[in-house]
Structure formats: C-alpha cells, structure tokens
C-alpha cells in the first residue's frame, strides 16, 4: 500500500508540492485503505446488532466466526494469487478435493493424513503456478481448466457420493470444539495464518518479490527478480491454504462430497479478498484486512437471516452488499484503466 503510494506520487503530483501538502493529501486515502474493510464490517455488524440485539447475546459472533473460517482461508490463498496479478479459480475445488482425500485417509493414516493432504494440494497449487509461469497460459483460462479437472477428480475418487471420515476424527475435533475468547479455534488458525502472511509479504525477500511482480511485472523482471518462481510460490500458497480449509471442512462436518459443505467457496473467497481491500490488479494486499473481508462476507447471509429478510431475497442482498462493499473499499486512481 505504501509502495503503491510511493509509485503513484510522481505521476499524481507532477509539480511536487512540498512534503507537507503531499502527506496531507495522501493520508485520508491511505487511512481509508487501512481501516476501510474493518469499518465496513463494523458498520454492517452494528446495523445487524441494532436491528436484532439478540444477535450479540445469542452467540451470533461464534456462528459468524465458524462460517468465516473456511472463507477466510480460501480468501487468503486467493489474495496471494491476486497479489502477483493472477487469479485462481480452482482453489475452492481444491478445498473439496483436499476434504475428500482427508476423509478417505484419516482412518488408515491417522495424524499423518492432514500432512499428506496438505503436501498433495500444495503440489497441485504449485502445478497451477508452474503452468501459468512457464507455460505462459493466462491464469484465468488455466485455473478454469484445472477447476474442471479437480471437480472430476473429486467426483471420481468419491464415487460421486459423500465420503465420511470414519476414524481418528478426535484429531481434528479441537478446531471447532475448543474456543478462545468465545470464537472457535478454527477461526484463530485463520487469523494466525493471516498475520503470518502479512509478515511474509512485508519482511521476506519472496514476499517483497511477489509485491514487485504484482505492482509492475516488467519492472520486476528487468530488475533481475525470479518473477516466474514468485508466481509458483503464490499458487502453491493458494493450494496450501485451500488444503487447510479442506481440513476445516472435515473437522466441521466429518464428511465431504462434491456438493456438500465447502462446495460453493469460490465466489465468497474472491469477494472476501476484494472486500478486504486486495487490488485485483495485484501488488496491494493486506492479509489482516482480509480477516474483516471474510467476516463481512460471512455476515451478509447470517445478518440478513437474523434481521428477518426472507431466505429467497438473501442472494439478492448478498450481491448488492458485495458490490457496495467493494465500491467502498477498493483502491482506485483517477486515470487508471479498470477492466
């Protein structure tokens, strides 16, 4: 974000006013970029709480955190890919694939099963990234293709039915069974990962390289950065986080199927990443804000139900709120080309 501001300054202020006015003109927008997603969530939450006070006392926050946990993980993975300027349409399909694999291996392999699952889906994610970076296939087309392949793979390995995790379920039980500050552990796992990713983007060479790729890929390439490998890393992270989301699906439901819990995470995941202030053009991502993005996206259907909007109108409300939230939180320049 601050990098974006730095890059923009020469263009935006050609007759460079002194530093004082510069910061005065910049600060409100930068401040909004930082707190916008939180403010939007807070406003929406306050609206629901005022209209239905029982939402606060009746454990509404815990329900919200349960719903937000899987969305958050998918959104974080999506944000990593958006950060390098690409998109991953296959990551929700990876969630289901991981959940089915885990349900089948949890009994025989026990504690190793989640690790095997995570390794497998990370490789799938990296394969996506490899094809985008070295096959030079546009990510939208490629991941649309792998989405189809993964859907078919999930159907085949599950025989198009629901796969139950029959043994060793107690290994995953603490994720939703125990609570910290009233919110389930699964949600805190997501928060910890978000903070970790924030530090990764901020303080590591790979993270800064990914930011450079997202902001100006040509520039990054001519600066001698291994831009291709940063893309592979981004897609591998997306696969890994989708795998964690798959583990949550099994922890929550104990079963997985191609049409069951978690099968419709693609669009909420993208929406949460964007509502969390991630620029779809790349380079501007704050993983911590995505926590609020995920909470906002999860709050819309729950809040709408709590307020008493008929179930039929829910997706209508959902669509309108997403458009409004994105219009409020996204960053935009004046002469920028928006596609």
């Amino acid at each position: 974000m601050s990098k974006k501001a730095l890059l923009e300054q020469p263009a935006a202020l050609p007759a460079a006013a002194d530093g004082k006015t510069k910061s005065a003109r910049r600060r409100p927008r930068n401040l909004w970029f930082t707190v916008g997603p939180f403010a939007v969530f807070l406003a929406l939450f306050a609206l629901v709480a005022i209209l239905r006070p029982a939402f606060l006392t009746g454990g509404g926050m815990a329900i919200l955190a349960v719903q937000a946990a899987t969305i958050l993980l998918v959104a974080l993975g999506q944000a990593m890919v958006l950060h390098v300027g690409s998109i991953d349409l296959s990551n929700a399909a990876i969630v289901i694939f991981a959940a089915i694999i885990l349900a089948q291996t949890l009994g025989p392999l026990g504690g190793i099963a989640p690790i095997v699952t995570l390794a497998l889906v990370t490789v799938i994610g990296a394969a996506n990234g490899f094809l985008v970076a070295f096959g030079q296939i546009p990510s939208f087309a490629l991941t649309l293709g792998t989405l189809g392949i993964l859907q078919a793979a999930s159907l085949v390995i599950s025989n198009a039915t629901t796969v139950y995790a029959t043994a060793n379920n107690q290994l995953l039980a603490p994720l939703f069974g125990t609570a910290l500050a009233g919110l389930p552990m699964a949600f805190w796992v997501g928060v910890v990962l978000a903070v970790g990713l924030w530090a990764f983007l901020r303080f590591t060479r790979a993270g800064e390289g990914m930011t450079a790729v997202g902001l100006n890929e040509t520039g990054a390439l001519f600066s001698g950065l291994r831009t291709r490998w940063f893309k592979v890393v981004a897609f591998a992270l997306s696969g890994l986080l989708a795998g964690v989301a798959g583990i949550l699906v099994i922890a929550q439901a104990g079963a997985a199927s191609s049409f069951g819990l978690g099968s419709d995470l693609l669009l909420p995941g993208i929406a949460a990443a964007i509502v969390g202030g991630t620029a779809i053009t790349g380079g501007i991502t704050n993983p911590i804000n995505i926590v609020f993005g995920a909470l906002t996206v999860a709050l819309v259907p729950i809040g709408a139900a709590a307020v008493g909007i008929t179930p039929q109108a829910q997706s209508l409300v959902y669509g309108l709120v997403i458009i409004a939230a994105v219009a409020l939180t996204m960053g935009r320049g004046h002469n920028e080309v928006v596609k």
């Binding site: 030079q136 649309l144 209508l316 997403i322 219009a327 928006v338």
Partner: protein
C-alpha cells in the same frame, strides 16, 4: 537470456516485410483454421467410434439444440471479453429473465398472461441487469469481474424472489413450449435462433461502431480514449448487449425446460467462457471474434455428446473440457512464448 531474446526478435522481425502482400489471404491462413480443423477432427473421431449413432440426424439435432444456449450467450460474452472485461453474471441474468418470462406468460400458477410481451419483459430484465453491471463498472470504476459477480447473485436473488414459496410454474403443453424443439428446414428452432444471434453478432462486430470500438478498447483503452472514442459509453453498451443475450438465453432455457426455475442457467458460464477461450479470443481483449466462439461452443458440445455416446462416465466430463481448454490455450499461445512476455 539476451541470446534467446535477440533470437526471437530476429525471427519475429524477419517475416514482417512480406506481411502486406499476405493480408488479402489472411483469413485462409492455416493458423486461423486450427479450431475448425480440431472440430472436424473431433467429429471424424467420434463418427469412427460410434458409426451408427453419432452421425444420425437425431443426434446431430441434439448437438445443435444443446449448443444453442452457449451460442447465444457466447455472442455477448465475446463482445465483453473483446473489450478486455468479463461478464460472470450470465447464470443469474438467465434465471431472472427466465423466471420473469414464465410468470408473465400463460403458466400453471396463472399469475399473468401477456403473450409475446412476456418475452419482451424477460429481455428487459436482462438489459436492466446489464445496464446495472455497466453503470457500476464504468461509473464507480469497480472491476467488471467483481461487479458481474455481484450481479450474478442479484439476478439469482431476483429469480428466487419471483419463484417465492409457491408451486413450480409450469408452461402449458403444446404451443410456445414446443417451439425450441420444433424443426424448421430439418433444424431445431432453438439452433436457428442461436444462428441468427451469431450472424447478427458477427455483423455487429465487423461492421458497426459498437463492434469496431469493442476491438479498439480491448486493444488499448488509453489509445482508444486518446483517439476520441467514448470508451465508458461503449463499454456500457457492450454490457447491455451481453445482458440482452443472457436474457434471451434465459427465456429459451425456460422454454426448453417447460417450467420456471431460478437455476435454469447452471453450468453455462463455465461452458461459455471455456468456449470463448478455446475459440481463440484473448482474455486480455482486442483479439478474437464471435465466429471463433461459435466454433469453440460446437467443439465442446460435440466433445461432451461424443463422450457420452462412447460410454465415458459423465463424472469425468468436466475434466475433459478442462484439459481441452488448457491444451487449446497452450497450443494457441506457444508461438508467442518469450522470456519477457507478461501473462497474468
């Protein structure tokens, strides 16, 4: 790195002096025939695998009937993608337009009967949703990906609200419900309608301001603006056209189904966008065409139909479409590979 780059640079620069004389015959270039050859190859392969069934008139009519919805949507989707944007709202718009049409025509719920005006109302809903997408995208500068994602849900919501909690509204037997599958000149009406859309779309893309500007905007929005093209206005028009196409497909889908359903469009988005890309239209905008999309749609429809006839499990169909999509893009973009090429 430098060696390789100079190499490709030289290779690319060399043929350019001989380009102008070739221009007259460029439409018959082998490269442009790739998709057509692939389609013919698919048809030949499935005809050889299933000699009795695949080429029978009934099966060919089934293929053309199945292709009709993605063909109609493909016209709008191609125009939007040519401008460099994307329209994901297809399934929602289909649902909203289809439900509007069913509830305003003669149906088992008896809600209303406005005859042909029901079709107009259905189309108007689609145009309205396209207008909404276009306005939010161009005025609020929200990326089209997100706007149309939202409008997808809005459309789905409108359809679900219209559906309400009453009984399913069925269309009466005979009459208008039979129209899509009725044969004219041996072809199903649904396909003839789709063909009319494709021809109209090709005309628009080639000979009208809307079409030419769509290509120009997709090629470079900044240069288009610099040349005085009202970019935002024409983007808005393109979204309206796309909304209209989706709505027409929604009405047709409702007719085929013979009932009102909010989820009448499920699966068409994936199929249509895959077809656009397989046909060779660039997702970056500026390159491609509606005829290419039509060939892409036919390829995917023939492939799905042929695989079912060959006894392949329907579970792996999406994998086949996905693999074809990746392979098609890989083959199409392989010659343009370069270490300095930026692919998003």
């Amino acid at each position: 790195m430098t060696d390789k780059d100079t190499g490709t640079g030289l290779l690319e620069a060399a043929p350019s002096p001989s380009q102008p004389p070739l221009r007259a015959g460029r439409r018959f270039d082998v490269k442009n025939l790739g998709e057509v050859l692939a389609l013919i190859g698919l048809i030949a392969a499935f005809a050889a695998l299933n000699p009795a069934t695949f080429l029978s008139p009934e099966n060919l009519r089934t293929i053309l009937d199945h292709a009709s919805l993605p063909l109609i949507i493909g016209v709008g989707a191609t125009l939007v993608i040519l401008t460099g944007s994307i329209d994901l709202s297809v399934e929602g718009v289909m649902g909203a337009a289809g439900m509007t049409f069913v509830l305003l025509t003669a149906n088992s719920r008896g809600s209303a009967d406005f005859g042909p005006w029901a079709i107009v109302a259905g189309l108007a809903v689609g145009v309205g949703l396209g207008l909404l997408s276009g306005l939010v995208h161009t005025r609020l500068k929200v990326p089209s990906f997100i706007v149309t994602l939202g409008v997808w849900f809005v459309g789905l919501g409108i359809a679900t609200v219209l559906f309400g909690d009453q009984s399913i509204p069925f269309l009466p037997d005979g009459g208008i419900k039979a129209w899509p599958s009725t044969l004219t000149f041996g072809l199903p009406n649904s396909f003839l309608l789709a063909a009319a859309f494709v021809l109209a779309g090709m005309f628009v893309a080639r000979f009208t301001r809307l079409g030419r500007f769509a290509y120009a905007i997709g090629d470079s929005e900044e240069i288009s603006r610099g040349n005085g093209i009202p970019v935002l206005r024409y983007k808005l028009y393109v979204f309206i056209v796309a909304g209209g196409c989706s709505a027409a497909a929604g009405v047709l889908a409702a007719l085929k189904l013979g009932a009102g359903s909010a989820t009448v469009g499920v699966g068409t988005l994936f199929l249509t966008i895959a077809a656009v890309v397989i046909g060779g239209t660039s997702l970056g905008g500026g390159k491609g065409g509606i005829l290419r999309t039509a060939i892409g749609v036919l390829m995917l429809t023939v492939l799905n139909n042929g695989l079912i006839l060959s006894g392949v499990s329907p579970n792996i169909q999406s994998a086949v479409s996905g693999t074809v999509l990746i392979a098609a893009v890989l083959v199409a973009t392989w010659p343009h590979r370069s270490r300095l090429r930026i692919v998003k």
